[in-house]
């Protein structure tokens, strides 16, 4: 009997068609939602490239679009890392630029003269739609279409993914997540069907991923891990063999074609897992082959032992090679995921990046909202029917949550998994409560325990007699996926929901939650994740929005008022922006930690040099500036309007990094007060007050307050009434809200004096008369 009546005069095929139509429409709407919810940034501000790295990607893309691919490949950028220069072609993942380059040329071939900037800005939203689709396909493999739709909807609007893919954040992650999901989908497909075709597809998308994002290492380790676990579970099949081998062979070969990756897949530990599993699979396959032919028990034992030992030997060989140095050990950034204290101790450049901090629970909830608790439930649901592909999601879940906990930015890799799992869970809930069939009450007397058995569902569909309820069963089960309630042989339903109200309550509750989820996502996206940290927004007392545009103001000032080949020194955060917006030569840029794995000694020393210049007194910094032909020095100062991301707050990192290279010239403790506080007011330590960074930040700051209390709104400290003085630099430009301050480096004094005394003379100071240098020694 049914809780509510279904139209019974419709043929199942109609249901199916209608369902598929609904599905297509739903997917279309989801894509629309995904794209439009990422356009807040453009609506609130304007169509502009966001924060830091995207500016480089944008610049590189322009080169690609104008010069063509080969020029891009051989692009040597003399304006970065001056005077070392940067071989860009060999040190980036070209996937992103290539993608938008292709789109650009395509559109122009269709006579659609679209500006490259708009393509870059809108690339991420576009790909988010594709991600939704890929997630749909992936989840479909996990459960069924309805779950797939849910997953697509989740990934479409979940903030955890939006945070890296709003319009304008033109970064590798923008396309990488789509590639990630599609590679996984292809892998699962290959695993299920055992077709080398899908294995190859997976390999090709893996290649695309490698070309697009450094995070490809995640795939490189996930898939082998999956295969390995399957082996341990004794689930070796020829399908696994085919899928894995085709993926690994083709994927590795193609990934080695990316210049930046080169021979890493065979030389570094990150990739060794994949290689090892590949070898192991060969052994196991061989063993299986033998077993199928040989019957003798002892021989099989022998075989088993030999397989194990062979595996062990392989492992040992790898360890040895690593030890010998043939295989590079894990790189610092990778290692820092396991030993969480590692980065801070040994690679301050990496630790200094805010995205590399661990994640507190509020940001989890912020990014995932109700998925945080739907997700474990979904994982449990996957455990109920533990098919091979489910194992994959489960492993992914464990890994993803751990990594996301260690590093904020890895929340991104967790998000898809969360969406998939919770979609599976939620769709099961909905299935259970949408299903109109009610169990038979009289069964209660028997009280037989009916633990759900996993294949039951499938068996039922085949075994169900096509009569009355059975027919509807079919329809319902086609509608609501594979999980039709358990029955005994006589076709009587055992488990199910009684009554309509219960259904109503639960479904209503679920609907409400989903609604809340949507509201939450929209709010987070529009408020937290849509500001292009190039343009800041503050709200006036009357609530209206006030745009703070100091960065562009300053960069355009540089572009307009300085020589084309002027060298601008700043802390590396602003290197890409200066290059992108001001088009001037920079000493260091964000490439510092992007691939600090292979940061050459030269660059490491270079960044430390800048750190030293910033944290030393003027007269020590000046020769450094001259040696590097620095014309202008740019500092970010938030003290006036309380912009907390300024250089004084980053200053300690400069000190640390400098200390790493000049331990006896720069020492971190000297920059603290004796009480160990970090102060900028009149109690600030001597080293602090004399450092170039401090002087440049607070130069003439007191004048603003006209003798009143000089207040730093970021540090909330009062500064001395007397602002620091500069002898070796001239203030060249200070932006409206004092966020950006640019100083010009003076040239040497024409009389060969040091500039301090030169200034003293110019201001009419008398210097004490000196005695002639004594040539003879007095004999006593």
């Amino acid at each position: 009997m049914l809780a509510y009546s279904l139209p019974s005069d419709i043929s199942p095929s109609t249901y199916v068609n209608a369902a598929s139509l609904v599905r297509i429409v739903a997917l279309g709407l989801i894509s629309a939602a995904a794209i439009s919810s990422r356009l807040f940034a453009v609506i609130n501000f304007e169509s502009i490239i966001h924060e830091f790295d995207p500016w480089f990607n944008y610049r590189a893309t322009k080169v690609l679009a104008s010069e063509g691919f080969y020029e891009f490949w051989n692009w040597f950028d003399p304006t970065a890392w001056y005077p070392l220069g940067r071989v860009v072609g060999g040190t980036i993942y070209p996937g992103l630029m290539a993608t938008s380059g292709v789109i650009y040329n395509l559109l122009h071939a269709l006579n659609l003269p679209v500006d490259i900037r708009n393509i870059c800005v809108l690339l991420a939203p576009g790909f988010s739609a594709l991600t939704a689709w890929a997630t749909y396909m992936f989840t479909k493999e996990m459960k069924d279409e309805s779950a797939g739709l849910l997953a697509a909807a989740f990934i479409g609007i979940v903030p955890g993914y939006i945070s890296r893919s709003v319009a304008g954040s033109y970064d590798n992650e923008a396309i990488a997540i789509f590639l990630l999901m599609f590679t996984f989908f292809a892998w699962i497909k290959a695993l299920k069907t055992g077709s080398a075709l899908f294995g190859t597809v997976a390999a090709l998308f893996y290649f695309y991923m490698v070309a697009a994002w450094g995070g490809y290492a995640f795939i490189t380790n996930m898939i082998p891990l999956h295969a390995f676990v399957l082996l341990l579970m004794g689930r070796y099949t020829s399908r696994l063999y085919v899928a894995y081998c085709s993926w690994y062979a083709i994927g590795t070969l193609s990934s080695m074609q990316v210049p930046f990756v080169g021979f890493q897949p065979v030389r570094t530990s990150e990739h060794m897992a994949a290689l090892g599993i590949f070898g192991l699979l060969q052994i196991v396959a061989f063993a299986q082959l033998i077993r199928s032919h040989v019957s003798s028990k002892q021989f099989q034992d022998l075989l088993f032992v030999s397989v194990i030992s062979a595996a062990g030997l392989g492992m040992a060989a790898m360890v040895l090679l690593t030890y010998k140095g043939w295989i590079a050990p894990w790189t610092g950034r990778f290692y820092s995921l396991w030993d969480t204290g590692y980065a801070k101790k040994y690679i301050p450049i990496i630790a200094s990046v805010s995205e590399h901090q661990p994640t507190a629970w509020p940001s989890f909830f912020m990014d995932l909202h109700m998925l945080t608790f739907l997700f474990p439930f979904g994982v449990l649901a996957l455990f109920r029917q533990l098919r091979d592909e489910h194992v994959f999601v489960i492993i992914y879940a464990v890994m993803g949550t751990y990594f996301a906990g260690v590093m904020v930015r890895l929340m991104l890799t967790l998000t898809p998994c969360v969406c998939v799992a919770s979609a599976v869970g939620l769709s099961q809930l909905i299935d259970t409560f949408v299903d109109p069939r009610e169990p038979d009450v009289e069964q209660e007397k028997e009280g037989g325990d009916a633990a759900p058995s996993k294949q039951a569902a499938k068996k039922e569909k085949n075994a169900a007699p096509i009569t009355g309820v059975g027919a509807i069963d079919d329809i319902v089960s086609t509608l609501s996926g594979a999980s039709s309630p358990e029955k005994d042989k006589s076709g009587k339903t055992k488990a199910g929901i009684f009554g309509l109200d219960t259904r109503m309550v639960v479904l209503f509750n679920t609907a409400a939650m989903l609604l809340f989820f949507v509201l939450h996502c929209t709010w987070v996206t529009s408020n937290a994740y849509s500001s292009p940290s190039v343009v800041l927004a503050s709200t006036n007392p009357d609530g209206s929005q006030h745009i703070i545009d100091d960065f562009r103001e300053a960069y355009y000032w540089l572009r307009m008022n300085t020589k084309e080949d002027a060298v601008v020194m700043s802390w590396w955060d602003y290197g890409y922006q200066i290059a992108g917006m001001a088009d001037r030569v920079t000493l260091v840029d964000n490439n510092t930690w992007n691939n600090s794995t292979r940061l050459t000694a030269g660059c490491a020393a270079h960044i430390a040099t800048v750190g030293k210049a910033m944290s030393s007194p003027e007269e020590i910094a000046y020769p450094i500036l001259r040696k590097h032909d620095v014309n202008y020095v740019l500092v970010i100062f938030g003290g006036l309007i309380g912009y907390s991301g300024d250089d004084i707050n980053k200053f300690l990192w400069m000190v640390r990094i400098a200390q790493g290279v000049w331990p006896d010239e720069i020492q971190e403790p000297n920059y603290f007060t004796p009480q160990g506080e970090y102060r900028v007011d009149d109690q600030a330590s001597k080293a602090m007050r004399e450092s170039l960074m401090y002087k440049m930040s607070y130069y003439r700051f007191a004048e603003l307050f006209g003798g009143g209390q000089v207040m730093d709104r970021v540090r909330q400290q009062q500064l001395p009434k007397q602002s620091p003085t500069l002898d070796y630099l001239d203030e060249a430009f200070t932006s409206e809200n004092w966020i950006v301050r640019i100083y010009q480096v003076k040239k040497e004094d024409s009389l060969g004096r040091d500039l301090k005394s030169a200034n003293g003379f110019a201001q009419g100071k008398k210097r004490k008369r000196s005695k002639p240098p004594v040539k003879r020694r007095a004999l006593a």
Partner: protein
């Protein structure tokens, strides 16, 4: 009125081109202390005018003509014969004079034994003056002049002075030189001379009690200088003279020994020539670089390219008032620097071509933004500096060797694998199909 006079003078001097001229201009302002009369220095000034300079005279207190008008120097050269002057019009201050130099104006500055506003200037040029009121005295050689009037033999070490110059009469203060590389000492005090206040006439006593202290704090000996030039980084030249009498007619006419007139006149003339940028003035006309057996400069070079760097240097010839190619420099160096010089090599003159200096070298195997730097600094000569920036890039993707003998194992591996694959498929297609799994496995590889 006065301006017209100057214009006339200008026209006149233009008319007579045989006159030599400074390389920076011919207008000279002479600030003359009222106590010194112009006629006592007629030889020197006449000499300058004959050279084609237009002299304009003013007293220190006059307001016009100002040496700096609205921050622009109004004269090419300035002579300050004001050793004792205490007060100046407000356009003449130590600061304004330094400002002049930075605008490439040349200055001749006569110091005196009194403390004047300009005394503080000396220390900026790292000259160390003795205490006020202590002129240079020497009791050797035996002579009839007072001890403060000393004949100083000219040691013709500097190329600015013609050798074999007769000793010059000198009366004034000595000064010690700091260790500033921009100083160009021309005339040093005699070894046995020293600075002492002559009011109580016992320079000897001063010597004695100084000798007690082992010569400590005694301004004496040949390390003291009396005439010193200074060339600023931007090329302005200034001459410090310890006593203005060096230039006057009396000393010029005076005989050092029987029948030998003093070298003062010519010495003063040559000093003025150096200071007013007539002598020892060089410039780099142009510098070019290109790959070997190419002619046009590249906008970037590849590592290990062989490139040619060429530069042309010419010297100012006051006689013809023109720049002439100059191959006389044998010690010019070229540096190819990125942070530090990666290559430092001699830049020899090309024998056949006058004024051309050229060198060929191999770019180091290191990519980066390099600079060709020519930096020629010699005492007395104009400093030559030229710096050309050029990026050095690694080879393009298609500039590496295509076929590596070292890669044979890979070639063999690839070929054999594909051959084996073809062979296998052929065999497979030929045979009947058993054992699905194996085929797939191999195919996947």
């Amino acid at each position: 009125m006065f301006r017209i006079w100057r214009v006339l003078l200008l026209v006149l001097s233009l008319a007579i081109l045989s006159y030599a001229r400074s390389s920076t201009g011919s207008s000279v302002l002479v600030v003359l202390d009222p106590s010194l009369s112009k006629d006592n220095y007629s030889i020197f000034f006449k000499g300058l005018e004959e050279q084609g300079y237009e002299l304009t005279f003013r007293a220190p207190k006059d307001v016009a003509p100002a040496i700096i008008q609205d921050g622009i120097a109004s004269f090419a050269h300035v002579i300050l014969f004001t050793p004792e002057t205490k007060t100046y019009a407000k356009d003449i201050t130590p600061q304004s004079l330094v400002d002049l130099l930075s605008q490439n104006t040349n200055v001749i500055l006569a110091l005196g034994s009194k403390q004047t506003p300009l005394t503080s200037l000396a220390s900026e040029f790292s000259l160390i003056l003795p205490p006020p009121g202590t002129p240079l005295i020497s009791h050797f050689p035996e002579r009839d002049t007072p001890a403060t009037v000393i004949p100083i033999p000219v040691s013709s070490s500097s190329p600015a002075l013609t050798s074999g110059l007769a000793p010059v009469w000198y009366s004034g203060i000595p000064f010690a030189l700091g260790n500033n590389p921009l100083l160009v000492p021309f005339l040093n005090a005699p070894a046995e001379s020293f600075a002492a206040d002559t009011t109580e006439d016992s320079g000897a006593d001063a010597l004695v009690d100084a000798a007690e202290k082992g010569g400590e704090g005694l301004w004496a000996g040949k390390d003291m200088s009396v005439v010193t030039g200074f060339q600023t980084v931007d090329g302005g030249r200034v001459l410090f003279v310890g006593g203005v009498e060096l230039f006057n007619d009396e000393f010029a006419k005076k005989e050092v020994t029987k029948g030998v007139r003093s070298g003062n006149a010519q010495f003063a003339r040559e000093m003025a020539a150096w200071t007013f940028q007539e002598s020892l003035v060089l410039r780099i006309d142009d510098s070019a670089h290109h790959k070997v057996n190419e002619t046009e400069p590249r906008d970037k070079y590849t590592t290990n390219d062989r490139i040619v760097y060429t530069t042309h240097i010419s010297k100012y010839n006051p006689a013809t008032n023109a720049w002439e190619p100059f191959s006389g420099l044998t010690d010019v160096q070229l540096e190819f620097t990125m942070l530090d010089p990666h290559i430092r090599t001699a830049l020899p003159p090309v024998p056949s071509k006058p004024g051309e200096y050229s060198v060929t070298f191999r770019v180091p195997d290191r990519h980066g933004v390099f600079k060709f730097v020519v930096d020629y600094k010699r005492k007395g000569w104009t400093h030559l500096h030229s710096s050309t920036t050029v990026p050095v890039v690694p080879p393009r993707h298609d500039e590496y060797p295509r076929f590596l003998s070292a890669a044979w194992p890979y070639y063999v591996g690839a070929i054999s694998t594909s051959a084996g694959f073809v062979l296998f498929s052929v065999l497979w297609l030929a045979g009947d199909d058993r054992d699905q799994r194996k085929k797939k496995g191999v195919k996947a590889e």
